[in-house]
Amino acid sequence: MSFVEAIAAKPVQKNRNERKLTIAKALNEAIAQEMRRDKNVFLMGEDIGILGAVWGYTGGLLAEFGEERVRDTPISETAFIGAAVGAANLGMRPIVELMFVDFYGVCMDAIYNLAAKSSYHSAGTFKAPMVLTTAVGGGYSDSTQHSQCLYATFAHLPGMKVVMPSNAYDAKGMMTSAIRDDNPVVFMMHKNLQGMGFLGTIQGAIVDVPEDSYTVPLGKANVARDGKDVTIVGLGMTVHQGLEAAKALEKEGVSAEVVDLRSLAPLDRDTICRSVQKTGRLIVVDDDYLSYGVTAEIIATVTERDIQALKCSPKRIAFPDIPVPFARPMEQHCLPNIQKIVAAARSMM
């Protein structure tokens, strides 16, 4: 179900006023609703209690659910993410938070060797229904260890779902799905979409969100804009850049379709291929590192299925294979942006 379809299909609420929320607020609502519904859902992480999480989505949960279910942890990621796996094995549904995706290096074993393989090497008996939340992305000069995306790093490792919403509607529905999922789900939040007071937010991420609980399925891409000449594939932040590029291209008579992946694992290959069958041209935009990444996977998917679908070579726009530099001129030069997408599309026409 696409974003548009989901909105169309949602139960009609009488006298419902439009309610625009940030992703942070939408996630907060999803988590609170699931915690009310299922007493096994609980939160662990650094600064999620009284602070309400650095990325702003756990405010008020401590007050409502108490310290037993909203647990500030020591800075001991190996311990508390490993603990989430054990707790999940015995019926709990932990949501574990780790501020920045960059920090997962210290506790990666608990993620990719424990959580991700728990079902497989126990033939489905040691389930690990847990959500790992983390923030990704740069563009605000936070340097080498606080600006990465690492989508491909996670999506490469079998056994966990890896998702990221591009707007608040999807955020709420996808978080609800993630909490109810019996598998580990890495739930990424893009900093430039989150709606934080200390950082700018792309306005397109702040959309109408129903009060009632609903789900958006994991593993389904969304056609965020219909077009016929070129397909622009992105996720999170790059979806919004794709949409802006599409607007600019429209003025030049180029009709661009924008696909929001929403989920990297599982990857909705059908929606991508269907779009390229229609447009014949493909640009993949990614703010993660270029090589061995999301762009390569999407292009391989399309060419493997039907290389004839392409009228010209596909293009990829991604962060070059260098650590994220601090100083603004260097970082901005490396990030994907609207101009780069427009130029790529033009060169394909």
């Binding site: 080498t144 700018g200 100083a327």
Partner: protein, 328 residues
């Protein structure tokens, strides 16, 4: 071990310099960030962790170190960097993202790297422990002078890598010192909520090394405790653990309104400030006069102002510079 008058004056001057440096950094940081605060804007974007209040730890440590001692520091590192003798001009240029900076603008404030004095700092909590132990190992294996120090917050001491590194340093009897700067807070989490024991010095027993806690945030007391650990390391007798109780006078990072911190504690900040205390102490002890204190302050400020003038007039990197230095 008591500091000499010369060492005490150096400690006072370095504390004053560091505090003024933070004040200038925070003023620069706020440029372009009001009325709307957005971390991405202004001449100094990104995150900013200030070391106000923790200067005694830096100077009590720095007074014993030479440029051959390897120092791996945490994210709140400006005071420690100054006390270790990091080039202030190039450090300021780095924090402002200039090509003349220590890392040519690639790193910013969380990653201060100065090979001349073997100092570096890190953004991942606990990441510095292993490398400092390895540096101590290199000194021992190569038969060279020089010891290694890792400095970590009390929050960071709960990181798994902390324990692994401590045991390794002890089992190999390395010239290593771990200094825990206990400012009582890890962002919004107070020590009592994250750490099962009150004093991390007690943990030293688990590694078979001496452990000491200094609770006064007084440079002279810290100097004495560090002196014992440094003498032990230089004599080849093995590692030590020190926990220094200190105070974080600012928010975790700039823009943190500290909603989680008790009002009384926030109100008590001026009283907890170690610099006026030390100034009064040195004057009372006859180490300096009011007039001498003022000239020290003026000299320290002038040095910082000069560094800012240098950094602000230095050129930014060009975009293509991003591609250099990925490999050596």
């Amino acid at each position: 071990m008591q500091p000499t008058s010369k060492q005490r004056l150096w400690m006072y001057e370095t504390m004053v310099k560091s505090r003024y440096n933070e004040a200038r950094l925070s003023a620069t940081y706020m440029e372009g960030k009001s009325p709307l605060f957005n971390m991405a804007n202004g001449p100094l974007p990104g995150e900013m962790h200030l070391s106000d209040g923790q200067e005694p730890c830096a100077v009590g440590l720095g007074a014993h170190l030479t440029k051959d001692d390897y120092f791996a520091c945490h994210h709140r590192s400006h005071a420690q960097a100054l006390a270790k003798g990091v080039d202030l001009k190039r450090m300021t240029a780095e924090i402002l993202g200039r090509k003349a900076g220590l890392s040519e603008g690639r790193a910013g404030h969380i990653h201060i790297f100065d090979y001349e004095v073997l100092f570096w700092s890190s953004g991942i909590i606990g990441q510095n422990m292993g490398p400092a132990v390895g540096a101590a190992l290199a000194r021992k294996m190569r038969g060279e002078a020089g010891i290694a120090i890792a400095c970590i917050g009390e929050g960071g001491a709960n990181q798994g890598g902390f324990h692994e590194a401590m045991n390794l340093a002890a089992v190999w009897k390395l010239p290593f010192i771990c200094v825990i700067e206990d400012n009582q807070w890890a962002v919004s989490v107070p020590k009592a909520k994250s750490t099962a024991i009150a004093s991390n010095a007690d943990r030293a027993a688990a590694y078979g090394m001496p452990g000491e806690r200094v609770a006064s945030n007084d440079p002279d007391d810290i100097f004495a405790a560090v002196g014992r650990a440094v003498a032990r390391a230089r004599a080849g007798e093995g590692p030590s653990l020190l926990e220094l109780q200190t105070v974080r006078l600012q928010g975790h990072f700039m823009g943190d309104p500290e909603v989680y911190r008790p009002k009384a504690e926030i109100a008590a900040k001026p009283e907890m400030d170690p610099i006026p205390h030390y100034r009064r102490k040195l004057i009372a002890a006859g180490v300096m006069t009011e007039i001498e204190a003022e000239s020290i302050v003026a000299r320290a400020h002038a040095e910082v102002d000069e560094a800012f003038a240098f950094a602000r007039s230095a050129a930014e990197p060009v975009p293509e510079d991003a591609f250099d230095k990925v490999f050596v």
